[in-house]
């Protein structure tokens, strides 16, 4: 296997060639591949596959659509800690159309989009950022005179696969939060028949996004997904499972308020509403901004941004979600206590009522047994039958 050897120089458009043109040397290129291989959880031998793929595979046509979103996914991606991700992978994947980053505008941009969709039909990768509003025939998000719903369906039709970036495209995020006025809908609910890779998070971690693209480039197939459609390589562990504060959790040592002694000691943020135990993401291992930190390391609980409906599962600073319709402070406990008190009161009332209404029946039995006992029989004719006391 000579995957690490410098391949013959050839004119073309593989990632490696592009990197060379930009002055990236072989060492950095292989380092990048090893780094990506590690993120993807590949074996050491798998790195050679990544190297090979990035050397030989032609550019992948990509259409990146933006719907109801805040663009934080794009922002996260272009701020990846590794320059190769932002500068070269973006070129490599050949963003034929993306509203935020493209130079073209208006008719030119539209032309570009349609050209890609026609020329690379069945080959291009559709990346979607943002949710699709379906209320009122989808008029709440209109681009170039067409609704997001329309555009998404058309673009999905000729796509090889779909990557849903971020919580908006995966689960609707804040637009879909109750009462969801625009009926914001995740992409997999508006298109059918195409594989959808959900790269969850608000936004997803840049390296996770890059990792998913590298996986697709390298292996030419959809990465293994969990039951909710997220790539297992990054979303199979809970934030809680990789959290460095976990020993405090297991020791039952918790922060009680953000300004207490326990917070200073760096205890677990569970009681401050940390969603780590119910959130699947790679924050604990990859962290953010080149591995500098992540919310819990910065003293704030996880808000569960890679889980569906995380806005509705609030408030963020309380472990239990509040119950809809009862006011913000009402949790399952408040409801339980109220029903419990009512139950105890009901039982007590019933007990009093019993003594009033049933005194006859109770008295009758008491009398019965007294009467039974009056003449004690010398020999019990039925030993298996007992008398009541």
């Amino acid at each position: 296997m000579n995957a690490f050897a410098t391949p013959p120089r050839a004119k073309g458009q593989t990632l490696w060639e592009e990197m060379q043109a930009r002055g990236v040397d072989r060492r950095d290129f292989v380092k990048f591949c090893a780094w990506m291989g590690a993120f993807l959880g590949l074996e050491a031998s798998g790195v050679a596959q990544v190297v090979k793929a990035l050397e030989t595979k032609k550019r992948l046509p990509v259409v990146w659509l933006h719907f109801q979103e805040c663009t934080c996914c794009s922002e996260s991606f272009i701020r990846s800690s590794h320059p190769i991700v932002a500068d070269i992978l973006l070129d490599q994947v050949s963003l034929d159309y993306t509203e935020t980053l493209q130079a073209a505008a208006g008719h030119q941009a539209e032309e570009c989009l349609h050209k890609t969709m026609k020329e690379h039909r069945g080959e291009y990768l559709l990346m979607v950022e943002g949710s699709v509003p379906t209320a009122d025939d989808g008029i709440h998000c209109v681009i170039a005179g067409r609704t997001a719903l329309d555009i998404a369906r058309e673009a999905a039709d000729g796509a090889k696969a779909i990557i849903a970036w971020g919580n908006c495209a995966c689960a609707g995020c804040v637009q879909a939060a109750s009462p969801n006025p625009t009926s914001a809908t995740p992409i997999d609910k508006v298109v059918t028949g195409k594989p959808v890779i959900k790269v969850q998070g608000c936004p997803p971690i840049a390296e996770v996004m890059a990792g998913v693209i590298v996986h697709l480039l390298t292996f030419d197939r959809i990465p293994q997904l969990d039951a909710l459609g997220r790539p297992k390589a990054f979303y199979s562990r809970r934030v809680h499972d990789t959290c460095y504060r976990r020993p405090y959790y297991d020791a039952g040592l918790f922060v009680e308020s953000f300004d207490d002694e326990n917070a200073r000691r760096g205890y677990c943020l569970y009681k401050m509403g940390c969603r780590g135990p119910t959130t699947y993401n790679a924050c604990g291992t990859m962290r953010w901004n080149a591995g500098v930190s992540y919310p819990i390391q910065s003293g704030h609980g996880c808000i569960g941004c890679s889980e569906a409906k995380f806005w509705d599962n609030g408030p963020f600073y309380q472990r239990l979600a509040s119950f809809p319709g009862f006011g913000i402070e009402t949790t399952a406990d408040t409801v339980g206590m109220a029903v419990g008190a009512a139950t105890v009161a009901g039982a007590a009332a019933h007990a009093i009522l019993t003594n009033i209404r049933k005194h006859h029946a109770i008295g009758e039995q008491a009398g019965e047994s007294a009467a039974d006992e009056a003449p004690p029989p010398a020999v019990d004719p039925h030993p298996e039958q007992r008398k009541e006391d």
Partner: protein, 240 residues
């Protein structure tokens, strides 16, 4: 005169008390998981593991609870007429009539005449069936949450429930809410046992220990009941 009737076989009684113990342990450890007490310690976290142990007890007890429940279902097919599974489902008009009677006699107390029962009354059987459904829900939701922490194949059988609920958070929320059902159920259950024992004097309370109930001679079932399934109606009426 009262006649002694053997109602609850040993396996049923064993199931009942093991189940009660499991629910107690699960509820206490579960509520501790949801609301751990405030502690402060300057020592190293690695010296202490009480919360981990607490969770372990919860998970281990869940297995006992599940298999005990599975055993009870099995016993519904092989046990005596009072523990037979037919009683728990509404198959006959008589069961509904009995529910009405129980409501009038015991809940509204419109009639001052206790109706004597052998097994549970129809309303109680139905309530227990609803409780079994909550058991199933707790087992499914609990093991679904547990699946991602375990390499064992068994919890994985429940992993499908996570996407059904939309994520772990929602499952956790419902799993927690269902705990309250057990708390409320216990309040009502224990009260009604006291009530029936007090009003009817059938020895309901001790029947779950020794298995025997005491019924007025004329109300007691014949010594050799015809078919197991007919048991509920034969002598049915009340007791929780």
């Amino acid at each position: 005169m009262f006649k002694r009737v053997y109602v609850w076989q040993l396996p049923v009684r064993f199931y009942h008390w093991l189940n009660a113990l499991c629910i107690l342990v699960l509820a206490v450890t579960g509520i501790l998981i949801a609301h751990p007490p405030a502690l402060s310690s300057a020592s190293e976290a690695s010296f202490s593991y009480w919360f981990g142990v607490n969770r372990f007890i919860h998970f281990a007890t869940a297995y006992v609870f599940l298999f005990n429940f599975a055993f009870r279902i099995y016993w519904g097919f092989v046990g005596n007429q009072y523990s037979d599974w037919h009683n728990f489902l509404p198959f006959r008009r008589a069961q509904f009539r009995e529910v009405g009677k129980v409501l009038r006699v015991d809940i509204l107390q419109a009639v001052d005449k206790p109706v004597h029962a052998v097994g549970h009354n129809a309303l109680a059987y139905f309530t227990y069936f609803a409780m079994f459904l909550v058991f199933v829900f707790q087992v499914v939701s609990g093991f679904a949450m547990y699946a991602s922490m375990s390499d064992f194949w068994f919890p994985q059988l429940f992993a499908w429930a996570v996407p059904l609920f939309g994520g772990d958070f929602a499952i956790r929320q419902w799993h927690y809410l269902a705990t309250w059902f057990f708390i409320l159920f216990t309040v009502v259950h224990v009260y009604l046992v006291f009530y029936h024992d007090y009003v009817e004097g059938h020895g309901v309370m001790s029947s779950m220990v020794g298995g025997w109930k005491f019924l007025p001679k004329d109300e007691a079932p014949p010594a050799k009941p015809a078919t197991p399934a007919s048991g509920a109606t034969a002598g049915a009426t009340k007791s929780p």
